[in-house]
């Protein structure tokens, strides 16, 4: 033990200073692994409230159309005859068509698959991974002896769109169990993916969809991170068809000149987990129409 009586005053101050530094450093290290999804969500909301004070938080489900009046006007005109309408009809028909074994999608999901979009993605403790709606649609198919659909577009996107449609207005309520280290790690991995710069262009999701919200990147205005997942799947005018969130993730990732990860990879499911948690409290408004 240090005997302060034996050290001279100057040496004493040095000792105290060193001890303080050591304590601060230990505290800093100890605080690093803390994962607090709710604090993150509140911080993101506060960021946007400060950045765009006139915009209602609930309006962020409309993406860039919440921030840019001219784009909103065009989008509203587009929504008069929603381009995803035929896909919704196809999705409903697919959803209600029994598999060859006579079973249906409804039997695979709680509440018959109706009005459940707001609970996806979720942490499946038994499997130790994040489950997305699209992942479970394909799992349902395989369980019933059918081939899985491609992840990015087509029937999978149509069924997902129909399920989102039945959930419109329901409020996102994604859970990250505080007592489950796996769930917290998946959430943290998604958060890290969002903020880490990638690709030859050295861009993170946050570069475009946080700092870059409503700032022109060439001719495009990137949408805000808040509410970004609420309206998927989307009919993108650029695609000329309906596509899933992971199709968009893949495209964004490629745009940074990264070798894009595949849809439904662990990294993208974790990213969806983080992003959708950020949208907790906002209503489901999928499917959507975007540029």
């Amino acid at each position: 033990m240090l005997n302060f009586r034996k050290v001279k005053p100057f040496q004493g101050w040095i000792t105290v200073a060193l001890l303080l530094c050591a304590t601060t450093s230990v505290l800093a290290d100890a605080s690093e692994p803390l994962i607090d999804p709710e604090a993150d969500r509140q911080a993101l909301r506060a960021y946007y409230l400060k950045r765009f004070p006139g915009v209602d938080i609930q309006d962020y489900i409309n993406g860039i159309y919440a921030l840019d009046a001219a784009s909103r006007e065009q989008w509203q005109a587009l929504e008069e005859f929603p381009p995803y309408e035929f896909d919704l009809e196809a999705g409903e028909a697919l959803f209600n068509t029994p598999f060859a074994n006579g079973q249906t999608y409804a039997a695979c999901f709680p509440n018959g698959g109706v009005s459940i979009r707001q609970h996806y993605p979720y942490w499946n403790a038994a499997e130790g991974r994040v489950k997305t709606l699209e992942l479970e649609i394909n799992e349902c198919r395989e369980k019933n002896g059918e081939q899985p659909y491609p992840w990015k577009k087509g029937p999978l996107a149509q069924i997902s769109a129909y399920m989102a449609w039945t959930s419109r207005g329901q409020v996102f309520d994604i859970k990250v169990p505080a007592d489950d280290a796996g769930a917290l790690a998946a959430y943290a991995a998604g958060k890290r993916f969002f903020y880490a710069k990638r690709g030859q262009l050295n861009l993170s999701c946050a570069n475009c969809h946080l700092e870059g919200s409503n700032i022109f990147i060439r001719a495009d205005l990137p949408g805000p991170a808040l509410g970004q997942t609420t309206h998927f799947p989307v009919y993108r005018s650029k695609w000329g068809e309906l596509g899933t969130l992971h199709r968009r993730y893949e495209g964004c990732h490629r745009d940074t000149r990264s070798d894009p990860l595949p849809p439904q990879s662990d990294a993208f499911r974790n990213l969806e987990y983080f992003q959708t948690y950020m949208s907790n409290g906002l209503p489901v408004n999928g499917p959507g129409a975007r540029k």
């Binding site: 690709g199 993170s204 990264s258």
Partner: protein, 145 residues
């Protein structure tokens, strides 16, 4: 010329000199990046009394005599490094294409071309791993608090 104007000129000169001094690279890496950005590859620059090249290590390697063994070695090294970048989920989009082209050049016996392409791929893989390592330490800087 009056005294006030002279003082103004002297002050401007001092500010200019101070700015030039401040822009002087403090480290070798800063000096390298500054010169690489200004002159591209194949340029010589002096830093702290010594002469250096603006070439990346891979580019210097690709300037050695072109042989099958050398081309194969450079291609293999680039493939291994890009595999590491892929495992980190940080591989860049164009690197795989460069490696494919390098393989084609090797098969065609175009060893110099293979070495140049492998050098580019190796550089990209090295930078992507560096990016992953940097992010490990710094990604939190962008998170709103």
């Amino acid at each position: 010329m009056n005294a006030a104007y002279t003082r103004y000129l002297l002050l401007s000169l001092l500010v200019f000199v101070a700015n030039v001094q401040a822009a002087e690279p403090q480290t070798y890496q800063q000096a390298f990046e500054l010169n690489r950005a200004m002159y591209g590859k194949g340029h010589l620059f002096t830093w702290q009394g010594q002469e250096f090249s603006t070439d990346h290590p891979e580019e210097l390697d690709a300037q050695t005599p072109a042989t099958r063994d050398k081309a194969e070695a450079m291609l293999h090294a680039a493939q291994v490094l890009n595999q590491r970048a892929s495992e980190l989920e940080y591989a860049w989009r164009m690197t795989a294409g460069l490696l494919e082209q390098a393989e084609q050049a090797l098969r065609a016996g175009e060893f110099r071309q293979c070495m140049n392409l492998a050098a580019q791929a190796h550089y990209q893989a090295r930078m992507s791993i560096q990016q992953a390592e940097y992010n490990q330490q710094h990604w939190r800087d962008a998170v709103p608090q």
